[in-house]
Amino acid sequence: MPQSPPRRPRRPVRARGTSLKRLRIGFVLIAMVMSVFAARLLQLQGLDAAAYAAQARQLGAVTEELPATRGAIVDREGAPLAESLDGLMIVADPTKTEKDAPQIAALLSRRLGLDYIHTVQVLTDSEREDGSENHFGYVARRIPSEQARAAVKELDDAGFKGIDTRWDPVRSYPGRDVAANLLGFTNRLGEAGDGLEMVYDSLLKGKDGQATYDVGGGNRIPLGDNSTVEPVDGEDLQLTIDRDVQFYAQRVLRDAVQNARAASGSVVVMDTRTGELLAVADYPSYDANGDYFTKRDHLGSAAFRGVYEPGSVQKVLTAAALVDAGHVDPLTRITVPEKLKSSDRVIGDYFDHDTLRLTMTGVIAKSSNIGTALAARQMPARRLHDYLRQFGLGQRVGIEGFGDSAGLLAPWQDWIQVERDNIAFGQGLGVSAVQMTAAVNAIARGGEYVAPSLVRGRVVDTQGRVGGSAVAETRRVVSPEAADATTRMMEMVTNRSEGTASTAAIPGYRVAGKTGTAQRVDPRCGCYGRQFTVSFAGFAPADDPRFTVYVVVHKPRNGAGGGATGGPVFRKVMGYLLQKYSVAPSGAPPRMTPVTWTPGSGPEGDELRSRLEDRFGGSRGAAGGASAGLSLR
């Protein structure tokens, strides 16, 4: 067989270079690169992940604050007294608005009523003190959004750049000064200051929300990151105040105070049955929207906070207490001397007279200090003090958080004779207007005191206290018969011939009231000076009282007393109330009660004596002879 040529022995096959070594080097290189990758991966994902995510979010994401709308404050019928409106603020980027500042300012001042010079200054303020650029400036705050939008649109159409709007809610008080003394106000930041705005801030405020979303080209990206916390709007607050009555009372009061050239005054209107305050008017007051004429001491409600000596209106409380304790009744005969000695002082009446023979009704109708003091001496000081406390004097009225004053009523242990006599007819103690109204209202309500309330329903204020008309406390002070007897006495006050306040009478209605003219203490001498506080308290209709109105005017300079100054105000306000709430007169004839008595036992005296003997079982008579004191003969 032929054999193939012998093969050459094969050399061991070798690639160019050492493949194994190259392989190893390559492997090491790759391993190094991969480990760098791994480390970087660890760093990015494990360590810095949060920071990068945040950066990414910032780049395309927008966080918008969703402000909560502040709750409105409305009156008893729902008319708004304070409300929140959408508003916008106009802001500018001065670096962009600088060159067109005059035109922009002219347009804005024409459209929105802004100050031209100030606007130009803001628009051209593009450099800060340290030389850096200023990209932000406030042009106008709290403009209703419709107006602001229209103005900015006009600017855009004209081609001016650099003006933008931001959310800035406006708190508006449509009534301006109506109920401003009660509402308080909100400052430029929207925070509450004073009054109901502050007391019920937690209720009205609500809670702001927040929305975060991605934005592209001015629109939301639906599949982007998106989270929304809905804002919780504040709740509305409903007051017991009637806006129309409040307006009417404020205007009538202002007119009266200005006519009398007095320093200040208050009118308080209360619904007799429920104790709800329908109006609390003060003068001077202010525009709650804020204006240049607001003085600090006009803020707040003097009807709640101001303390003064009530004067003769107090006599009805003393009379009610005396009748309830059984010491007097409307026909009790009192001999009123010219002057009455008390401790080291002498008490006189506001009118000079010889010895008068007045019934208790006459003492009230003619407002005799001496007669009241004599009648009150029958009662121990402690009892009188307790009755007055029951009427609400010397303690707060229970409307919490309003800065209301408890007034001043000294403890009965500290009363000396002259103080006791003074307190009986309304000097020597301090009250606030709302306190007095609530006290007189107790008589109107058949002897049952009801705490006044300003808010309807049951509401919790910022401090967590519960208040409102639904939780107003009631308590019995005097018996219904005593209240009726006192009402009878008060009806004679408005009698044309016998009473001190015929100006307060309303034809066709039975009106019960009481005037007051209290002397004011002169701080310079610490004694009673020449200035007065005149007042009038009353309720109508007397046979079924619906409203209690109390008027007080401080330091009038026209010399008129409670009947001449307070009476007409009462008549106007009460007339308005009776008409507005359709309270028709019952048609019953007015009750006439004799105000004077003649000595000698006439049929009247016998009847009276026997009636009282039935009641008290035996005749009573104060010590002292015919010259002074009570007598039943």
């Binding site: 629109n219 939301r220 200005q258 309303i506």
Partner: protein, 196 residues
């Protein structure tokens, strides 16, 4: 031997006949080449179509969502604007209902506040209360009085003291406006004279 041989042969022959028949029975033949395979194209087309639909559908869905978000933003803006308009109208309503404005308008028409409330009962026509003609007595100012001028603004009368000759003054001006002045001057004058 031949029987044994024959038997063996016969057995072999039988076995082979059995085997043959078995083989015949179990004869496996190759299946003829598939002319009946199902067509692949429709399936491929189906899958392709599903894929295409899925991709296109997803794209369209995404697009429509974006579109909807634009619409949503637009509508939200519209809602805000309408809300602002509603508030402006409400503000206008409050302004019109303001008791001060209404009172001023009524006063401008010559109306006066009522003096005495009275009622007419419609069921039987009785008049309740004492109806009185409304007079201007119940009127009150709707705007406040202007504030009083402060003391420092009020002009005080400037009193000019005219110089007076000693002897002549008494005779010629017995009752001039400043009676207290003459005795003073007189006293001053007398002091100036040297005492004798």
């Amino acid at each position: 031997m031949s029987t044994q041989l024959g038997a063996a042969t016969r057995q072999r022959a039988r076995f082979s006949r059995l085997a043959e028949s078995a083989v015949e029975r179990a004869r496996l033949t190759v299946v003829p080449r598939g002319r009946t395979t199902a067509p692949r194209t429709p399936f491929a087309i189906l899958v392709g179509v599903v894929l295409l639909l899925g991709v296109v559908g997803l794209l369209m869905f995404n697009t429509s969502m974006q579109q909807a978000s634009f619409t949503a933003t637009e509508l939200e803006e519209k809602a805000t604007i309408l809300n602002a308009k509603k508030q402006e109208l409400r503000m206008e309503l409050d302004r019109l209902r303001d008791p001060q404005r209404v009172s001023e308008a009524a006063a401008g028409l010559g109306m006066v506040p009522m003096t005495t409330p009275a009622f007419l009962r419609l069921s039987d026509g009785t008049v309740l209360g004492v109806p009185e003609r409304a007079t201007g007595d119940s009127r009150f100012r709707l705007t406040p009085l202007p504030p009083a001028m402060p003391e420092s603004f009020k002009l005080k009368p400037e009193i000019v003291y005219a110089p007076v000759e000693d002897g002549q003054a008494q005779a010629e001006n017995p009752g001039t406006g400043a009676p207290g002045l003459l005795p003073e001057r007189e006293a001053a004058g007398s002091q100036e004279r040297p005492r004798r």
